[in-house]
Subunit: 107 residues, 3 copies
């Protein structure tokens, strides 16, 4: 038996990690995963714009899976509004099929 859920993927400059996780937790998500990476352009850093502030190409990818699609949209909107006018980064959603629904969800 499986259930539909929504995965939120956020790729951002590493210096935004704490702020984004704060939004994720305050929105009510029960967990998240953080993966370190590198990148360029709209998906990662525009390193040439702010060379003294961040290490070149240092990014994080933060993933949240929730059975609550509205929660996913709220997190995506908040992260996008707060950070991605001034910083490079992306946020997107996709649907996944989960096996343990009680471990997911925003509440």
């Amino acid at each position: 038996m499986t259930y539909k859920a929504t995965r939120i993927s956020i790729t951002a400059e590493k210096l935004l990690e704490d702020g984004i996780i704060k939004i994720v937790e305050e929105a009510g998500a029960t967990g998240y995963t953080v993966i370190e990476g590198s990148g360029k352009g709209a998906h990662g850093l525009r390193t040439r714009d702010r060379p003294a502030v961040v290490g070149a190409f240092s990014i994080v990818k933060i993933e949240v899976v929730t059975a609550d699609h509205d929660l996913a949209e709220r997190i995506a909107e908040k992260v996008s509004t707060k950070y991605f006018g001034n910083y490079s980064g992306i946020v997107y959603l996709d649907e996944v099929e989960i096996f343990r629904p009680k471990k997911f969800g925003g509440q």
Copy 2:
């Protein structure tokens, strides 16, 4: 020309990595990818529960892509049943469009 396939994503405590990979290989998958990360809550660790056993927030994300949807479901069920009653972690499936079908599949 592309083909449908299923991606299995497993996020688990790092100490489960070997056991999960054993399930993946014994089920007949031809390959997998392991990415190191950190996390919290239902998606990663409940570090407060077992502080002496694992490093805080140390997780792995294991991905398998297969053209055999039943294989994907079997792996997800086995991992979930064996580990995720006692450990934090998640397993989910989604559909992807692959370009090299002969490199995928469980057999």
Copy 3:
């Protein structure tokens, strides 16, 4: 307000990273993310075939998100044709829902 986009996921031996990124950039994608990992089999390395050339299990996962599905297919075809006859690796596409369409796209 959200929009459909295509995510390209490429998992390859680390030694192919620069060549793949060249294809991504020359195709016109505006950004990409690179994550380091390990792996085995059709999804990563066949380490036994070329033990002196690459470190065991060293792979990269490269992700590109674009609003231009044709661009995504062109990148996938080029990477697959150039590299994945001789090297292990995979490339696949899936659809995602993005929140900032102007930061995506191939042009």
